[in-house]
């Protein structure tokens, strides 16, 4: 690629450019299964620098891929067409906090948990709570429309975005959205940017709606011997009008993995459901948590336990918190791969979907867990397999397709919170076939030279398995 390194150095300074093969190798992968090297990594420190980089890239038709912590699981930050990776972590200022307006303004490199630490003395928090909250950036959360375990009550990142500043493909800076909770002024372009995975613009500032920290919190756990019982419990909880702040499911494979990795002693049952209620009034929280407790019992939930002790709640949730990476400890020679990782289904279909996932996994000789923010209809899965074997990858590919075909057939969607990248490209394109051209038209209007994170979402390759070299050694 014909890159003018000197020009880019002049924009951001020598210390903010890296083009050694070692850096390109590291920035060529994320938490997905893929890898592809960029040509250069640039760390902008200001909006003006981002504008200059984009202007140069647009004039020279050079791909640009924005990146936060690089913890995405679907290959969003893997530069499929090479070019520039924009590491946004240095733009990490909290610009202002306005408790009276229930909002704050931040740069995209701010880390979720660090924002919450700063908001805490004001009595507020930013509700989307991904498990990766201690390391993920607000920019990355916007890119994928991340949500997390509290999405059942507070929604996803999109619901907490009021506005933003975006540098467009040509380097122009636009301000989108507003500082208000309601906004009926034309197209909601700020919301459109959320979940666009860096394909429409570079978010350089975000206006976030914040929420008062609930004063009262209580948590509970219940064990189920069948997935049907667990699924019914979740569905009935939501249908009865209770608003838990968390409603999480872990299947048996997930339970085994966290027991192995974290040394926990969770019971060997078909499913564990963890639930939380929060609010400002003790009686309300107590009422709701006891209601859920009763629903658990009515659905054969065993070992039902509720607590409002902070330490006990931390212990109760510790297994779920580090579940995804713990899956690597499920069994000898089985490694976690982020595939088919976050579908969402109608609430009543959770148990059926989890069982279907297990059946399909068995058919294709891979291991799959199911867990997640089931109160929001979201199911996380991971494929555990021997990544050194070609046959395992072929089996995984078939399993991924069959699982998504099932999810679509019951009215579910390909991704609930991790986004599409290109791991999920084929399934996404099948699901959204009616609207792909609409998406492409929007993309073309905003990025006519197709430089912003190309080959993602609706333009992703038809076969995720051959789209890039995998980042694993395949020797058998």
């Amino acid at each position: 690629m014909n890159l003018d390194h000197q020009k880019l150095r002049e924009i951001v300074g020598e210390e903010n450019i890296r083009d050694n093969i070692a850096d390109l190798y590291v920035y060529g992968s994320d938490a997905s299964v893929h890898s592809k090297l960029p040509d250069i990594v640039i760390r902008p420190g200001s909006i003006v620098e981002v504008q200059k980089i984009m202007k140069y890239a647009n004039e020279n038709k050079i791909p640009v891929v924005p990146r936060g912590a690089g913890s995405g699981m679907s290959g969003q930050t893997v530069p499929l067409s090479g070019g520039i990776v924009l590491d946004m972590k240095q733009m990490n200022n909290i610009i202002e906090i306005r408790p009276e307006d229930v909002l704050c303004k931040v740069e995209p490199g701010v880390i979720n948990d660090e924002l919450n630490q700063v908001l805490k003395p004001y009595g507020f928090f930013f509700p989307p709570t991904p498990s990766s909250g201690k390391i993920c950036t607000i920019g990355g959360m916007i890119g994928t429309n991340a949500s997390g375990n509290r999405s059942v009550k507070y929604g996803a990142t999109r619901d907490a975005i009021l506005g933003m500043k975006v540098v467009l493909a040509n380097g122009d800076l636009v301000t989108l959205g507003s500082n208000t909770k309601v906004d009926s002024s034309g197209y909601q372009l700020a919301k459109l940017m959320v979940g666009s995975e860096g394909t429409l613009g570079i978010v350089v500032e975000a206006t976030l709606q914040i929420s008062p920290i609930p004063k009262i919190r209580a948590m509970g756990v219940a064990n189920f011997n069948t997935l049907e019982d667990a699924g019914n419990m979740i569905s009935q909880t939501i249908a009865q009008g209770i608003t838990p702040s968390m409603l999480e499911l872990m299947d048996n494979i997930a339970i085994t993995a966290v027991n192995n990795a974290q040394g926990l002693n969770l019971p060997n049952v078909a499913a564990i459901v963890i639930f939380e209620c929060n609010g400002m009034i003790k009686e309300t929280v107590e009422y709701e948590i006891h209601q859920i407790k009763e629903i658990c019992k009515n659905n054969n939930g065993a070992g039902v336990k509720i607590t409002d002790d902070e330490q006990e709640m931390t212990i109760l949730y510790s297994g779920r918190k580090k579940l995804f990476p713990s899956l690597s400890k499920y069994g000898e020679g089985l490694y976690t791969t982020a595939l088919a990782d976050d579908m969402a289904v109608p609430m009543s279909k959770i148990a059926d979907t989890v069982k279907k996932i297990h059946t399909i996994a068995k058919k294709h000789d891979v291991v799959m867990s199911a867990y997640g923010h089931c109160g929001a209809g979201l199911i996380h899965t991971k494929i555990l397999m021997d990544t050194t074997k070609q046959t395992q990858w072929q089996g995984a590919k078939k399993a991924v397709k069959e699982i998504y075909d099932y999810v679509h057939s019951i009215g579910g969607t390909t991704s609930g919170e991790h986004g599409i990248g290109f791991s999920k490209g084929p399934a996404f394109k099948r699901e959204k076939q009616d609207s792909l051209e609409m998406m492409r038209a929007i993309k073309k209007a905003l990025d006519p030279n197709n430089i912003l994170n190309p080959q993602k979402l609706m333009d992703s390759p038809n076969d995720w398995l051959t789209a890039t070299p995998l980042r694993y050694q395949i020797t058998q």
Binding site: R18, N20, I21, A22, D23, Y25, V26, Y27, S29, D30, A31, R43, A69, G70, S71, D87, K89, Q90, S132, K134, I135, A261, Q262, K322, L323, F324, P325, S326, L327, S328, K329, G333, Y335, T336, T337, A338, T387, T388, Q390, W393, L465, T466, P469, L470, R471, Y472, Q473, I474, T475
Partner: protein, 363 residues
Amino acid sequence: MQATTQTKTKYLQAYEKQMNMCIRCAYCFEQCPVIKEVQWDTDGARGKVILSYGLLTGELKPSQYIADKVFRCTFCRDCLDKCPSKIDILKIIENARAELVNAGFASDTHNYIIQNIKKTGNIYGDTEVIFQTQEGTTPLFIGCQYLGRPNKTKKYIKILEKLGIKPLVHEEICCGFPMEVLGFKEDYEDHKQEFKKKFPHDTAITFCPTCTVFLNEGHNIPAKHVLQVILEKLPKANLNMKVTFHDPCDFSRGLKIIDEPRKILEKLGVDIIEMKHTKQNSRCCGGGGGILMTDQALSNDIAKKRIREALDTGVDTLVTSCPTCETTLKKAAQEIAESEGKSISVRNIEDIIWMGLKHAETP
């Protein structure tokens, strides 16, 4: 999909499974002192594991650039705590270093230290750095850092004697940790045999947190840190001080010694005001892993961050229990005092214990 041909590496091969288990989640970013300071993915714990994987597969060739990155680690152990898959990240880094040293990319300063150990048995390359032998009942391992600080060593020995313990002191050689951590594995294998001859004990009291960890993990000697021993016998005193305590990484995360120094200070009438990051979650001083010899500016930046946390507590004294932490933090505190006018005194815990013993309440 492309099948790659497996490349044989001398040291990293054994860690292939561990590296496959790394799902590159970046949870190790949370408090990695290097990435927090440098803000480049390559320099953090995950970056080093990815570089190691590249060396293993042959996708990356050993180079000075990669060596600079892989040696940019303080071995603070925080990534081990944060990694949910419990991958032994430091072992991977250590073995990547060995590959790089094997390929001729050892730094001059690291090489110098290793040659010193081989020639003289200690990191200073000075045969005069020895301690007066003395008869006793409990084998004492002083370690290079304390051999080079004879006044501190004398103080600790006197403390032990005052508490009724008779340390057995004899000629010793380095525990070998620098060889292992800096990638000189073959030298370490020879040194390990020599160490066994010079230190033939199956128990020990140690002064240095790192030596304590390494005697336990590297030599399988169930060594106790001197503070664990002191706590059992220390009388009460009322020093009426208020300090903050910096947990050395090898202490709080390596040995899981968290309560002992606090209980000692409490016994001596010293109040502790904890820093924001403390105990198991303590921040690194920036002095470990060989970084002090190769990247002093980075080491100093990390230390200054820690001193700023200490200043935020409002106390005028920081106490620690590791000579390396003491050195790096003292330098950082001095520079902050000169440039910003905010001062805090950095002291090692043995000074406080010594002072306490002088003012001890008689039973």
